[in-house]
């Protein structure tokens, strides 16, 4: 399998992507994607793919999905101008407020969409994995909403650092299953959820939370999350009077980023995905898959992954549980290969600084994941004064309080401005 491409091929693939022709019928985004799953799950994936084809763009399904987004999730979410941040950065800064969506992050868009799909496919129960706990909370809430039992697989390390979300899931009626195997974070939780699914592929619906994994998940999640970019695009035209010069989103698996970027791919603007730079550039010190990874197959998809020379997937580090993942969605791997999106990394420290600055200037406690996007946008602003910037504010930071209490507010170095 290859991942290098020439300029002509890159141009053709980008055009196909903008035209909505990807993934192809084999679930490929150019060389990336596909479906690498155990034989036991092949019929389950075929059933899911058929269900996606039958229902996702069906008018009745879309009516119900859009109604739930409006009446239960609280969409459209606001687009906020950030006057004090703009003044400090010297650019015009706009925030797409996914933190205002029900349960506090963009994850709910996908969760309610897939829960509705699970109902239509006749599932008896839903399983989900979670890293930061946001997808777990969203899945628990969505399953309660549609009346399906839900089990959430969560790494033991994440259970400790995201304790408030564990309580929320339990209160929303979900069973939280602690995963003690592997790296005890998101990757191990996905492995364990897949093992559970193998035990009952007919009865279980696996509600995957990011734009990763085997086909059709990267496509399905993108379609359900694209509402972010569709709304933001129109709101920018209406409120800012034009599209941004640059748009930023954080990237773990990449669901909020693909949801924001996908409707903007054909527009003339820079798109910048921001990964977790952790504490350094060495293997194991970060979760910057696109910046430092190599192509390989992880959890069902050929994509960029953090691995050693023997193809063993490596553990990652990030202060934010939601970005702490060794792989990335295959569509992001293509967007990097074609050069349409630039992927950069922000460190733990830069993310903490950015979180604090946003609190002080705009009264918004953003998620640690999202803070990475702010850190990169601030740096970009220094080099591009006077430009217009859109940042995907993918989630709120309340769930990060256990982590943040370990980092007392820094000297109020931003407050003097």
């Amino acid at each position: 399998m290859k991942s290098q491409m020439g300029a002509a091929e890159a141009k053709a693939l980008l055009k196909a992507q903008v035209n909505g022709e990807l993934p192809d019928e084999r679930g490929r985004f150019g060389p990336f994607g596909g479906r690498y799953v155990p034989e036991t799950l092949v019929p389950a994936f075929e059933k899911l793919e058929q269900g996606v084809r039958e229902f996702l763009h069906d008018a009745a399904f879309q009516d119900e999905f859009r109604r739930e987004l409006r009446e239960w999730v609280g969409r459209p979410t606001a687009l906020s101008y950030a006057p004090r941040l703009s003044e400090r950065w010297g650019t015009e800064v706009w925030l797409k407020r996914e933190d205002l969506a029900h349960t506090g992050a963009h994850k709910i868009n996908n969760a309610i969409g897939q829960a509705l799909l699970a109902k239509r496919l006749g599932a008896k129960r839903v399983i989900a994995e979670t890293g930061a706990g946001q997808h777990g909370v969203a899945s628990a809430a969505a399953c309660a909403r549609v009346g399906l039992p839900c089990s959430v697989y969560m790494g033991a390390v994440d259970i400790e650092r995201q304790a408030p979300n564990v309580d929320r899931m339990t209160r929303l009626g979900a069973e939280v299953v602690a995963v003690e195997s592997g790296d005890k974070t998101l990757r191990a939780a996905i492995d364990e959820a897949l093992r559970k699914w193998v035990s009952d592929p007919d009865g279980i619906y696996y509600l995957l939370g990011s734009a990763v994994g085997a086909h059709p998940y990267p496509y399905l999640v993108r379609e359900l999350q694209s509402v972010i970019g569709e709304e933001a695009r129109q709101q920018m035209l209406d409120q800012a009077g034009g599209l941004p010069d640059a748009t930023f989103a954080c990237v773990g698996g990449g669901s909020n980023a693909i949801g924001l970027f996908y409707p903007l791919l054909g527009d003339d603007m820079e798109l910048i995905g921001v990964e977790a730079g952790g504490t350094g550039s060495g293997l194991g010190q970060n979760a910057a898959t696109l910046a430092t990874g190599t192509p390989g197959v992880l959890q069902g998809s050929y994509t960029m992954i953090l691995q050693d020379d023997d193809g063993q997937v490596q553990e990652t580090h990030s202060i934010s549980a939601g970005l702490d993942y060794s792989g990335v969605g295959p569509e992001h791997a293509l967007l990097q290969a074609t050069g349409r999106v630039t992927y950069v990394a922000a460190s733990d420290d830069e993310a903490l600084d950015a979180l604090e600055e946003l609190c002080e200037t705009e009264g918004i406690l953003t998620a640690l994941e999202t803070s990475h996007a702010f850190a990169a946008a601030r740096e970009w602003s220094q080099a591009n004064p006077g430009k217009r910037v859109l940042i995907g504010n993918s989630g709120r930071g309340d769930k990060d309080m256990p982590t943040l209490t370990k980092y007392p507010p820094r000297i109020r170095k931003h407050a003097s401005a």
Binding site: G34, E39, P43, A44, G182, D191, G296
Partner: protein, 256 residues
């Protein structure tokens, strides 16, 4: 004769002598890397073919036992190159070897180089649990160039038409997964196992070996009435962990 046909012949030979073939599975380099070849030789002296597990960081189709053995082997530095060089030093064993690996370590090694090294070290075929037929053309071609086979897995969830396609595509034998689940299950074999295995055997021109959840002599005998062979993995790995004799255990299961 291509190597995968020797594997088929070894299973048929066991059947001709009136018993199901026994295919033991070991994780390479577990529990002790230094014991790998001795363990392999002991197991090969009783088994009709041996399945060697290549450790992987994310064994998504495996239960706790193989997860444990894989992670332990990895932490001891076991990798494909080490395994091939150990096999090279061990020389020809006379018992066909099958390698079981998730796809990513094979991708990292390179398919052409993999197939050459495998043929040179007595490997007959590969089992790749996260590589469904639709994605396997590239690896299959590289293996067949060296006379090696890619063994296809079928499961109780496999629809009839797909079963025919997979049996037709398989080389060496057809791997019939006994249960809808992961390796190492101790819930017992399903009640309708006989019908399922009879169906697979009826469709397949190749011998059918059953695996997953086969733990004792009763299981082997039970499976052996409806399939050509039985694959014993987690139960054998547990025997090795406990420091018991793999040879005695496999003989108790009806090995040669």
């Amino acid at each position: 004769m291509p190597a995968h046909e020797r594997l088929t012949a070894a299973i048929k030979a066991a059947n001709h002598s009136g018993r199901p073939a026994l295919v033991p599975f070991i994780t390479a380099g577990y529990p002790e890397p230094g014991d790998f070849i001795n363990t392999l030789k002991a197991v090969a002296s009783v088994g009709d073919a041996v399945e060697i597990g290549i450790p992987f960081s994310d064994p998504m189709a495996d239960g706790m036992t193989i997860q444990r053995s894989s992670h332990a082997a990895l932490s001891e530095g076991v990798n494909l190159e080490w395994i091939f060089s150990e096999l090279e030093m061990a020389g020809v064993l006379g018992t066909p070897l099958v390698m079981m690996s998730y796809l990513n370590p094979l991708l990292a090694y390179g398919f052409d180089r993999l197939a050459e090294r495998a043929r040179a070290t007595g490997v007959s075929a590969f089992i790749v649990p996260d590589l469904p037929f639709e994605e396997c053309a590239e690896l299959r071609a590289a293996l067949e160039d060296q006379g090696l086979g890619l063994i296809q897995l079928v499961t109780p969830a496999t629809p009839r038409e797909r079963l025919e396609m997979l049996c037709d595509a398989s080389r060496g034998f057809v791997y019939a997964v006994t249960i809808t689940g992961i390796t190492g299950g101790d819930a017992g074999l399903p009640a309708d196992l006989a019908d399922y295995l009879d169906d697979v055997q009826a469709v397949s021109d190749l011998p059918v070996c059953a695996g997953f959840g086969i733990r004792n002599a009763d299981d082997v005998a039970n499976v052996g009435r409806h399939a050509s062979g039985a694959i014993v993995g987690s139960a054998l790995v547990e025997v090795l962990e406990e420091g018991r004799s793999p040879k005695a255990f496999l003989k108790s299961l009806g090995g040669k």
